[in-house]
């Protein structure tokens, strides 16, 4: 099976050049190593539906459920990885489309664990398309890169100027409670995102690149004293973005803070970026949820229910 072009292009990234060795187990990008997921949402009457679903293991979505009490019209899909985490040689491709006027939420079942690697790497390409007046909350759970792992991700977003997208990544430094060397003990983490209108130029792009030899990890301006961080974007029309920014109080205590956070404007008026740095995942999650609540209230006029106790 030929690798999808966008996924194949990731293989050429400079930062992957030391890691092109073949795993001793199943061949990299071979049969069984390419997970694929395609989700399409559209509006049907008063609610939105999952009208298109294509999946190839180890990625899995079963069906859309409607359990959000604040937005009963919202189809919710949970991405499940039947492989128990990302392994060396894995290639993932996720496409999510929300058509005009529809809404959707896509989350993941649990933390996205990137397992230890002694050969090759894992890569993921995501395409997210949000149509006119559409609304998508795509908030995967924490990514935990294990010691020695290598992961590259590219997310390409195409958003109508009237569409709204809440999307972001929450990252942990490693299995910090498992071993001292787990803290930023991975070999490579490369996470890029780009935003544009259909057929337009790139309006915002950002690449987070952390390589093993980075000497600044414990600098006070980088991650000193913290183990988790999140970059959450709210792409929205300028008026809505302004209201959200106005309401979100930045959080920066100087006395032993659990988490610090703030919201900044993205270039070319595409929306906002929430930055959070924290000690534990729940510290960061709390700030993300505070932002999420404001986004949903301002974007949809709907409440965000209390978080489930098992999260």
């Amino acid at each position: 099976m030929p690798l999808h072009e966008l996924l194949g292009r990731l293989d050429e990234a400079r930062e992957l050049s030391p890691y092109h060795t073949e795993p001793g187990q199943m061949r990299a990008a071979g049969p069984g190593k390419i997970g694929e997921l395609r989700l399409g949402f559209s509006r049907r009457g008063d609610r939105s539906v999952l009208h298109d679903l294509y999946r190839v293991a180890p990625l899995l979505v079963q069906r859309a459920l409607y359990w959000d009490e604040g937005m009963p019209e919202l189809p919710i899909c949970t991405i499940i990885s039947v492989g128990g985490g990302i392994l060396q040689g894995d290639r993932y491709k996720i496409d999510i489309t929300v058509e005009e006027g529809a809404c959707a939420q896509v989350i993941s079942q649990g933390a996205n664990r990137i397992h230890q690697m002694d050969a090759n790497y894992a890569s993921q390409h995501q395409s997210v398309t949000v149509g006119a007046g559409a609304y998508l909350e795509y908030l995967p759970d924490f990514t935990i890169p294990y010691r020695g792992s290598r992961f590259i991700n590219q997310t390409d977003i195409v958003l109508d100027e009237t569409g709204i997208l809440l999307y972001g990544e929450m990252m942990m430094s490693g299995r910090k409670h498992h071993h001292a060397d787990e803290r930023f003990g991975f070999d490579l983490l490369s996470m890029a995102v780009s935003v544009r209108r259909a057929d337009g130029p790139v309006l915002f792009t950002e690449k987070v690149l952390i390589e093993k030899s980075d000497p600044t990890i414990d600098f006070a301006g980088v991650m000193k004293g913290f183990d988790t961080f999140a970059n959450i974007m709210c792409l929205a029309p300028p008026k809505i973005a302004a209201r959200i920014q106005e309401r979100f109080e930045p959080h920066f205590e100087t006395e032993a803070p659990r988490a610090i956070s703030g919201v900044s404007k993205l270039p070319n008026a595409v929306g906002l970026m929430l930055r959070v740095v924290g000690i534990e995942t729940h510290d960061v999650r709390k700030e993300v949820r505070r932002f999420w609540r404001i986004v949903r209230e301002e974007a949809r006029g709907k409440p965000l229910p209390t978080e489930q106790y098992w999260r």
Binding site: K207, S261, G262, P267
Partner: protein, 241 residues
């Protein structure tokens, strides 16, 4: 004096003039508005990320590293484009910086200093490429990021890219350090000591990024990123970022 001396003398003249003008364009008193910006230092002090000369030095090191791996890459692309007379490639580098800059005050610094630099240069000497770029800024065709303007100006002065890169990095460090003198308990000797030491890394930074493409502009400084958001909402402040 024989003819050989004359040849050596006339060959040295352009280099000496170039060096003089490079010094002028890297001087912190060059009126492009750098004095109004602290590059996040004001918030770093208020939040105690920077507290003393040692932590200031670390902060400067971090910003220099970041600056090389983000703006520095586009700076080198713009410099090469200006040397080759490729105006479209200059605009590509300009947009590459702009679409990566998060935070309204960071964006303000980029655009305001870029435009000021072009206006200043055109008042003091002939800079045809910079003039065309300024025209595009005024018509809204390009954002006008400072590092791109600086790259064009230095290319027009005949500076090779490695020297131009030094000027770019030096400007970043001197902006933070001149803000530091006004913001924290530190004397001029300490800031000069930090500025002197900071030059040690410039060759490594240049070699780390010189072959990289615009798509490879990357960063990782989450606490700094929160500081950028923090400053926008601070009530008491001396600087614009």
């Amino acid at each position: 004096m024989d003819a050989g001396d004359d040849t050596i003398r006339s060959a040295a003249v352009p280099n000496m003039v170039r060096l003089g003008r490079l010094l002028q364009f890297s001087d912190s008193t060059l009126p492009v508005g750098a004095f109004a910006f602290s590059n996040g230092l004001e918030s770093a002090l208020q939040t105690e990320v920077v507290t003393d000369p040692a932590s200031l030095r670390e902060y400067v090191e971090l910003i220099l590293r970041q600056s090389a791996r983000m703006d520095g890459i586009a700076f080198l692309h713009a410099h090469r484009a200006a040397m080759n007379g490729d105006h479209d490639a200059i605009l590509v580098a300009d947009r590459a910086i702009w679409c990566r800059r998060v935070g309204e005050e960071q964006q303000l610094m980029l655009a305001r200093m870029g435009k000021k630099l072009a206006e200043l240069a055109l008042k003091i000497g002939p800079f045809p490429r910079l003039e065309r770029w300024l025209g595009d800024i005024k018509s809204g065709a390009t954002p006008g990021c400072f590092p791109v303007g600086q790259a064009i100006a230095l290319a027009e002065l005949g500076a090779p890219e490695s020297e131009a890169f030094v000027v770019h990095q030096y400007g970043v460090a001197s902006m933070i350090l001149s803000a530091a003198v006004r913001l924290m308990r530190i004397d001029h000797l300490d800031t000069q000591r930090i500025l002197f030491a900071a030059q040690d890394r410039v060759a490594d930074d240049y070699h780390a990024v010189r072959a990289l493409g615009l798509d490879e502009m990357a960063v990782f400084a989450p606490i700094f990123d929160v500081l950028v958001a923090h400053h926008t909402t601070t009530r008491v402040r001396l600087f614009m970022n």
